[in-house]
């Protein structure tokens, strides 16, 4: 889907922040709690890592950006838990207010409605029983599509042509897995794009490789 998360090539972010030595893993204690809570919430909500990434994509820009990486995780955890009706939509805020000294009524616990979903195996790697449609060295084009739901096809490569550099292990398709519509295993390709193909003749010379699922690609001939 179009949204804040698909950042490749977008403008207006200012300078990068050079690495600082000695940065702690969690700069504030809540960040560690949010990290662990979110990992556990994926399971508690009966969802999966692709649904978690899609939950992040669905956040509005403020919820995505304002409290940084772990704030975005917490907000995505809330979305997964409310989507699966583990929590009522206002439950976290009501409890937070009460922790803050307010006396607000908390919503009742809803009837859980987890997705009808179970993985067929651990992790994301899955066998595919047809040979890869594309070969190493072949020219391929990333489809110029705008899927309405989750996808791992970044906007900046859509419609552009590259070369298959590597065939990676086949894996389940995030586009359907994130929506609990099946694993649809596919071949995965590392496709090498030339910077001038992506950004025009004035671009710095370099290459970028992107892992693309077979259904994201089409032939150029």
């Amino acid at each position: 889907m179009e949204g804040i998360a698909d950042m490749g090539g977008t403008e207006g972010w200012g300078p990068v922040h050079p690495p600082q030595g000695g940065e702690p893993v969690f700069e504030e204690p809540w960040q560690g709690r949010a990290f662990a809570l979110t990992l556990l919430s994926i399971r508690v909500s009966g969802q999966n890592v692709d649904a978690f990434r899609h939950a992040q994509e669905r956040l509005d820009p403020a919820a995505y950006l304002d409290d940084g990486y772990f704030g975005r995780w917490l907000n995505a955890a809330e979305l997964m838990l409310t989507d699966s009706a583990i929590l009522a939509p206002s439950a976290i805020d009501a409890r937070a207010r009460n922790l803050h000294g307010d006396h607000v009524e908390e919503p009742p616990i809803p009837e859980p409605a987890k997705p009808d979903y179970a993985p067929t195996a651990e992790g994301s790697l899955r066998a595919v029983d047809v040979p890869p449609a594309f070969a190493v060295g072949e020219r391929v084009r990333a489809k110029n599509t705008s899927p309405p739901g989750h996808t791992r096809l970044p906007g900046y490569v859509r419609g552009h042509t590259g070369i298959v550099e590597l065939i990676q292990p086949s894996a389940l398709l995030p586009d359907t897995n994130a929506h609990f519509l099946g694993e649809n295993p596919q071949h995965v390709y590392s496709v090498r794009f030339d910077s001038r193909q992506l950004w025009g003749t004035g671009a710095e010379p370099f290459a970028v490789t992107v892992e693309l699922f077979e259904s994201y690609l089409e032939t150029t001939s």
């Binding site: 977008t10 990676q168 671009a203 370099f206």
Partner: protein, 198 residues
């Protein structure tokens, strides 16, 4: 997303505490499991793991070959595997080729060898710009590459995770594997820095 009366969200630390309470009091999560996860990523799963992989590759040519051919298996030989490390591909930086890793769509990162990503890697400016002007971005981060160095940016869009095998610095020929480990930095294994001789 609900807001408070002033139009902003409640403080994130408070909301985190609220969520932990809500899930704990219903027995849906165990705070001890949370503590274990946090401690693990604070103390065990970090860039020291990757540094051990790199130092082994620098001192053992057969291991280096296995690492570049079958990264996941070679890394597992040293005991490192787990979430966000299902399939790790190792690419080598040399005097003329330079790989640098980014995740433009979220902040995918090879946790078993590097731990959780540092703040600069998660920063929108890094995610947005590394695939458009890497030489300029690397320069802003303190790495000036010669004009003839070919740059390949690795955008981590699937579950494939990339690890950079940095170039072994000149002047370290006499150092042992154990002496090399502390020289190898996280930044070099992502490709935004080089390893410096001591």
């Amino acid at each position: 997303m609900t807001t408070d009366g002033s139009g902003g969200r409640l403080p994130v630390a408070l909301r985190t505490e609220a969520l932990e309470q809500l899930l704990t009091e219903r027995g849906l999560i165990d705070p001890k499991v949370m503590d274990g996860l946090i401690t693990d990523y604070e103390t065990n799963v970090g860039p020291l793991n990757g540094a051990k992989v790199v130092a082994r590759a620098w001192t053992d040519p057969r291991y280096r070959r296995r690492l570049l051919e079958e990264g996941t298996a070679a890394i597992k030989e040293l005991g490192f595997s787990g979430p966000q490390g299902e399939h790790i591909v190792v690419v080598e930086n040399t005097a003329t080729t330079h790989n640098v890793v980014v995740c433009t769509l979220c902040s995918c990162y090879p946790w078993p060898v590097l731990g959780l990503p540092p703040s600069w890697y998660k920063d929108p400016a890094y995610r947005a710009r590394m695939v458009k002007e890497p030489r300029k971005v690397l320069s802003e981060m303190g790495l000036e590459l010669a004009e003839d160095v070919r740059i390949t940016v690795r955008d981590s869009t699937s579950e494939v995770r990339w690890l950079v095998l940095p170039e072994r610095p000149a002047g370290t020929e006499r150092l042992s594997e154990e002496q090399l480990v502390p020289l190898v930095t996280r930044d070099a294994m992502v490709g935004v820095a080089k390893v410096k001789a001591p």
